[in-house]
Symmetry: C2
Subunit: 153 residues, 2 copies
């Protein structure tokens, strides 16, 4: 994984754009042709299995560190598979990194924002994550994330 | 507009994420609550009309300069209106900045990528732009852009 800068309270950064694809191997060709590079240290096995979510993920990065996460379902029960059955392949979610995810979730809840996860749950890449419901964001599934070791108990 | 760094040949950067919304005024509330700020110099009129595309656009920015462009149709004939009629509000496109857009389009065409615009056309924010068809990108409408003054004739 590339090094991401440490962010402060009240700051927010785009971490990655999640894209649902049938197959990482075939779908990454376009992105690589455009100049994106795989962030995996192991080019021979560039995808990571996220068993809980029943997906494999591959992270591609541009020069200014924007990142695309290709999501390939490993099982028909995967929510990513269900997403594709309904809408076809395409952008699945936006992930933003925040500082103090527990506080951010409380603030959003108090503001009437509908949360899928009211408390953070384990995600890929050693992050704790929580999803915000698209009905509160203008139709976008938003994932908030914070490194595991910095989340307050 | 905020200052964006000049990019070199072969580089690619995420410029913004375009989100189709019914109304900029109501839809920007969630993004602002999360810490995004409007990049417009004129807070009393934060949207720009793009007459050709029959939309108003407002650009919101995070700390690491990721940008969200909210797109509000001004007319039923807008392609953004048609997109929302079919899929509801949500992410409409990803825009990447490239150097030498004319050459990039030639390279993509030679690679068999389906282009909506084979030559760049005028876009918002004094950019020349071209769209890549979602069928070639894994379901994502991709916009490529380059500042007008740097596009080769």
């Amino acid at each position: 994984m590339s090094q991401r800068r440490v962010i402060k309270n009240g700051e927010i950064e785009l971490d990655h754009i999640g894209i649902a694809v049938p197959q990482i191997a075939t779908s990454s060709a376009f992105w690589k042709a455009l100049g994106w590079t795989n962030t995996s240290a192991d080019e021979s096995y560039p995808a990571e299995l996220v068993a809980d979510q029943k997906v494999q993920v591959a992270m591609l990065e541009t020069n200014n560190r924007a990142r695309v996460e290709l999501l390939e379902p490993t099982d028909d029960a995967s929510t990513v598979k269900k997403f594709m059955d309904k809408r076809g392949p395409g952008i699945h979610h936006l992930c933003f990194r925040v500082k103090n995810i527990v506080e951010v979730l409380k603030t959003l809840k108090a503001a009437g924002v509908k949360l899928i996860n009211e408390s953070p749950v384990p995600g890929a890449h050693d992050m704790m994550v929580a999803f915000v419901h698209p009905s509160s964001t203008g139709g976008v599934l938003v994932e908030l994330s914070e490194p595991k070791q910095s989340v307050s108990k």
